[in-house]
């Protein structure tokens, strides 16, 4: 019996509409240990690296590791692996929440999606039973609506991972969202899911993750828990203020991306920092599956603000992406932009970088008047309305922004002003490859 792993892989051929179980390659599983290495190996072996990332030949791999589903600290994560439409390299996006463990309990370590469905579909995995179902009624819906609707027609305890309008419209900064607000964000994995016409994967599992030596495993876990409880980062900083606790520090050493990273310090850093979140909008703390740290923040915009909504976040990266990098120093606006990104399933870092770049280009006069008119509000640093409008335009195919975001890194400059504009697109160039390993 394979301990830790469940030893099964689910291969879904969307073109043919088949879903088949096969044994996991245990040699690879042992060689690479985690889901990231294992999934990358499958991609490396099975896919021609020259294919277009948004073509049916690309493969979308959902992979878990041997600790996923156990009570090992932070053992609730899963990877989404494919060829990235944003960087054209291997995309390894990572997300927490409850979806990964549920997949393990359903009996699978890895799900590989191949080909392209002729019409929008979603997958319903219930233990060893897999159905490819029609998703016409949820196509175009936001992630929250999709999750509620799919839970109602599958199982109230089902966990759902899927895309929003941005992924459907093949936006290259689209992400995959599970449990309403946890994102496998980077590298545009949502666009690949959209290109395959897959709206979501709903999972319900009642099986077990086995352990070879329960006594020793238990001991090791409790030792690790002790380390986590003693380390100041994990015990006080992340538990107390979440990843937003970093804002004060990065601002003080001058590396908080501000105004498209033209500056490293932001005058309103305190207003969008961890302390302010804890004192104003925080509803309560939350943790992903099997996580003793619990850095997630459940927040709500208080009544009386221009914006309204509730959800999870913001994380540090969201605060700089949609906040300081766009010059927005209003916490409610950052929160609302965060909620919008969750609903549309857009990566907050790449989206923030794209908007910030556009703002700098507009301020330097590289964007034609008619394109600016489409935004409807002045595209300049600090204008929160412009951020919201841009996020909307990015997610629905009704404007320039969608194509900007689509092109944002991969295609060569074409217009006369473009070479210098290209040089200004710094955040995407540097941030995307360097942080694709980051956990979010």
């Amino acid at each position: 019996m394979p301990y830790g792993w469940t030893g099964q892989l689910l291969r879904v051929d969307l073109t043919k509409g088949t879903a088949e179980k096969e044994p996991l390659n245990m040699t690879w599983a042992r060689e690479y240990i985690g889901g990231r290495g294992l999934g990358t190996r499958y991609l490396y072996e099975e896919m021609d690296p020259t294919v277009d990332a948004l073509s049916p030949e690309n493969k979308l791999i959902f992979a878990t590791g041997p600790l996923t589903g156990t009570y090992a600290p932070t053992g609730g994560r899963y990877m989404v692996i494919c060829k990235s439409p944003l960087t054209d390299a291997v995309a390894c996006s990572n997300s927490g929440g409850y979806w990964g463990p549920e997949l393990k309990f359903a009996g699978y370590d890895v799900v590989i999606l191949e080909g392209k469905a002729p019409k929008p579909v979603y997958l319903w995995i219930e233990n060893d039973k897999t159905e490819i179902r029609d998703a016409a009624h949820v196509w175009g819906k936001t992630t929250e609506e999709t999750e509620d609707m799919l839970r109602a027609e599958t199982d109230p305890s089902a966990r759902i991972s899927g895309i929003g309008p941005a992924g459907e419209n093949l936006n290259r900064v689209a992400c995959v969202i599970n449990d309403k607000s946890r994102a496998a964000g980077r590298s545009g994995v949502g666009a690949v899911m959209g290109s395959k016409n897959v709206k979501a994967i709903a999972v319900r599992g009642t099986g077990a993750v086995q352990c070879a030596d329960p006594l020793e495993f238990g001991q090791l876990v409790f030792e690790a828990m002790k380390d986590i409880n003693e380390s100041p980062t994990t015990s006080s900083a992340l538990r107390g203020l979440g990843t937003a606790s970093t804002v004060g520090f990065t601002n003080s050493v001058g590396i908080l991306p501000t105004n498209n990273f033209q500056a490293g310090q932001f005058e309103h850093a305190n207003a969008i920092g961890g302390q302010t979140i804890a004192q104003t909008v925080l509803r309560r703390n939350k943790g992903c599956y099997s996580c003793p740290i619990g850095c997630a923040r459940v927040t709500e915009i208080k009544p009386g603000s221009r914006w309204a909504g509730r959800g999870e976040g913001p994380e540090y990266e969201t605060i700089f992406g949609l906040g300081s990098d766009c010059g927005v120093g209003e916490l409610d606006a950052v929160l609302y932009a965060n909620y919008l990104c969750n609903l549309y399933a857009v990566d907050t870092i790449s989206a923030g970088g794209t908007v910030a770049t556009a703002m700098e280009l507009a301020e330097r006069g590289y964007i034609p008047e008619e394109d600016l008119a489409e935004v409807g509000t002045e595209l300049k640093f600090g204008n929160a309305d412009a951020v919201m409008r841009c996020l909307e335009m990015m997610s629905y195919p009704d404007g320039k922004f969608c194509s900007w975001a689509r092109r944002s890194r991969t295609s060569p400059p074409t217009t006369p002003a473009a070479p210098r504009a290209w040089a200004s697109a710094m955040p995407l160039r540097t941030a995307a490859p360097a942080t694709c390993a980051a956990t979010r």
């Binding site: 589903g69 156990t70 009570y71 609730g76 409850y98 463990p101 309990f105 449990d179 309403k180 599992g205 009642t206 099986g207 077990a208 993750v209 086995q210 352990c211 329960p214 238990g218 409790f222 828990m225 986590i228 409880n229 804890a278 925080l282 509803r283 309560r284 703390n285 939350k286 943790g287 992903c288 599956y289 099997s290 996580c291 003793p292 619990g294 997630a296 459940v298």
Partner: protein, 155 residues
């Protein structure tokens, strides 16, 4: 008697207790066989860990047709596997839905306090679970407490 008490305001819905529970009792991680349940209401931001309260007038005990459910000397309500016929009457009777069911053995199970060292309490790093000395009370009384408006969430 000592039993596992939950403080929902401190819970973050990490489900570590469910993992620890099934690991201790089954030797594997399987939330479907847990005896402590974390209900996460994501939209309402309410996370509710519940486990057996060993009620003074336990409805599971009085409704068991085979007398498989008994109360031990300490006051703990327990299921006798040999007598249980898997009819699930106790699951229907339990007002808090904290009776679990073991599909493989075809018997129901409730919190057995891990023989005096509850694993869920041990693993909870947020102090949301406590192994405390409390006297069992009637289920109706507990229901009345539960139906009162919840205190504001701790932040």
């Amino acid at each position: 008697m000592k039993m596992v008490l939950a403080h929902p305001q401190k819970c973050v819905a990490c489900h570590l207790c469910e993992g620890a529970c099934s690991f201790f009792h089954e030797g594997a991680f399987q939330p479907a066989k847990t005896r402590i349940f974390v209900h996460d209401f994501v939209d309402e931001a309410v996370y509710l860990p519940v486990t057996c309260f060993h009620c003074k007038d336990a409805p599971c005990l009085s409704n068991c047709p085979t007398y498989a459910i008994t109360r031990d000397a300490n006051g703990m309500v327990q299921v006798n596997d040999d007598k249980c016929i898997g009819c699930k009457m106790c699951m229907v009777a339990c007002p808090f839905s904290v009776m679990g069911f073991h599909e493989d053995k075809n018997v129901s199970h409730n919190c057995d306090l891990c023989g005096g060292d509850p694993q869920c309490v041990k693993i909870c790093t947020y102090d949301a679970l406590e192994y405390a000395e409390v006297e069992p009370i009637e289920w109706m009384v507990r229901m009345d407490i539960a139906e009162k408006p919840a205190p504001a969430a701790a932040s």
